[in-house]
């Protein structure tokens, strides 16, 4: 039986892990490779590395880092952050990334999704969508959620799926950072509108939030950052809990 996935997200700045990660026993918790390996050995099903640097050296640094991660980590990982061209994706996949996540570039030019899918296949193209609930419904946001657009979220998600994306990574800007649970109503609605796997993101605070996003939100995977990095939730404990709650999970 296919299991639900638990995915820690690591923010990368100039080749280093950021966001006050607090790990006992790691030689260097700022080293994305060491941290990634730690998570892989402690129950994570996949990893997401989000590059938030914006320097000219960015691409070169990221390529070297991806290669290093691929050499050391034996579970799948996705790389995202500012990816905007076929050349970017090619470089990341050549260096061993399993999937790439695109966001703003896909909104600016939706054909990019189709082009990437036809060149590399659906299986490695994740489209990340940041959205926020406005008076007239859910709208897509850009630039890490900071810039609102008039694009209707569910319609955009349908186009993303029709263009062949393999997965949607949906972050609710209303829930992100609140630790009050995932956007389960919107997630469940999204699952009815598209027939590709959905990764829920934004709002993880407790074990029961993960249960709810799988049961009520119908999510296929759940992504979180700080609750894992600050050891508020241990993935092994979380997975034991989910299993006891009757959710298919890899232990």
């Amino acid at each position: 039986m296919l299991t639900k996935r638990i995915i820690p997200c690591l923010d990368i700045l100039d080749g280093r892990t950021v966001k006050g990660v607090n790990f006992v026993g790691l030689r260097d918790a700022g080293d994305p490779v060491e941290l990634g390996r730690y998570y892989a050995e402690n129950g994570a099903d996949e990893l997401v590395f989000l590059d938030i640097s914006a320097t000219e050296q960015k691409r070169k640094t990221l390529a070297a880092l991806v290669r290093h991660i691929a050499a050391e980590v034996d579970i799948p990982f996705t790389v995202g952050g500012g990816i905007s061209s076929i050349a970017d994706v090619d470089m990341l996949l050549q260096n061993g990334a399993d999937k790439v996540s695109i966001n703003s570039a896909a909104v600016r030019r939706p054909e990019l999704i189709s082009e990437l899918v036809s060149k590399f296949g659906s299986q490695c193209i994740v489209v990340a969508i940041d959205a926020k609930k406005h008076e007239k419904g859910w709208k897509v946001h850009l630039v890490g959620g900071k810039v609102p657009t008039e694009i209707e979220f569910f319609g955009w998600a349908e186009e993303v799926a029709e263009r062949g994306a393999g997965e949607i990574l949906f972050t609710s800007m209303d829930h992100d950072g609140t630790k009050n649970g995932f956007a389960n109503n919107a997630l469940a609605q999204l699952s009815k509108r598209v027939n590709i796997p959905i990764i829920a993101s934004g709002g993880a605070g407790t074990n029961s939030h993960f249960r709810d996003t799988f049961k009520k939100g119908k999510a296929d995977a759940a992504l979180a950052a700080s609750v894992f990095h600050f050891k508020e939730i241990q993935i092994t404990d979380l997975k034991q809990y989910l299993k006891e709650e009757g959710i298919a999970i890899r232990i």
Binding site: M1, L2, A40, D45, I75, P76, N195, D220
Partner: protein, 195 residues
């Protein structure tokens, strides 16, 4: 021991190279028939779309070479699918090594299947030391139904072939190179098949 990893421009070969390196083995990336023929073991990778991958294979003349190989050959993911009779993806004729067609998952379940699934009914030395119900990482939209060549079963909507074997030809639908310690053990079992 010489391991050839068939390089025909379709697939994330770097991950397989790294997984072999973690087992202290260096593979030779090659699309040269003589090099592939003389290897002790051959790995046939592949991701992406079936018809374009088969076209690339034909461009390098490897479609006629692979069925003649005598050493153990391991197809991974799309590699396994191309070793079947045919794939409905792009109506692609396969290499005919495994006696089954490859078909698309129905629209009643999410496609592609992405994530960790169990393997059971394990019937080959490829799975020596692997517990029934172990988890492997898999990502695909098309699958091989159960057939006489099935040596491992997974379930997604219905049971399907997680692995196939005929004579010296092996194929796995999942990605052993991305399946943590279970995948590493399966690769190591394959390496042990070298004569």
């Amino acid at each position: 021991m010489k391991i050839a990893l068939i390089n025909y421009g379709a697939g994330n070969i770097q991950s397989i190279l790294f997984a072999l390196e973690r087992l202290n083995v260096n593979a030779l990336l090659s699309n040269i028939p003589e090099e592939i023929q003389s290897a002790d073991l051959v790995i046939f990778p592949g991701v992406g779309e079936a018809s374009s991958a088969m076209a690339k294979l034909k461009d390098s003349g490897l479609d006629s070479l692979i069925p003649t190989l005598k050493q153990p050959v391991l197809g991974i993911c799309l590699g396994m699918q191309l070793m079947c009779n045919e794939s409905k993806e792009g109506d692609t004729a396969g290499l005919g090594l495994f006696d089954t067609s490859v078909i698309r998952f129905p629209g009643t379940i999410k496609v592609p299947q992405i994530g960790w699934n169990t393997i059971s009914d394990l019937k080959s030395p490829l799975f020596s030391g692997i517990t029934d119900g172990s988890y492997v990482y898999t990502v695909h939209s098309y699958y091989a139904p159960l057939c006489a060549n099935t040596i491992a079963v997974s379930d997604y909507g219905e049971p399907y072939s997680a692995a196939l074997q005929r004579d010296n030809f092996y194929g796995v639908q999942f990605h052993p190179e991305k399946s943590s310690s279970v995948g590493s053990k399966i690769l190591s079992n394959f390496l042990n098949m070298a004569l």
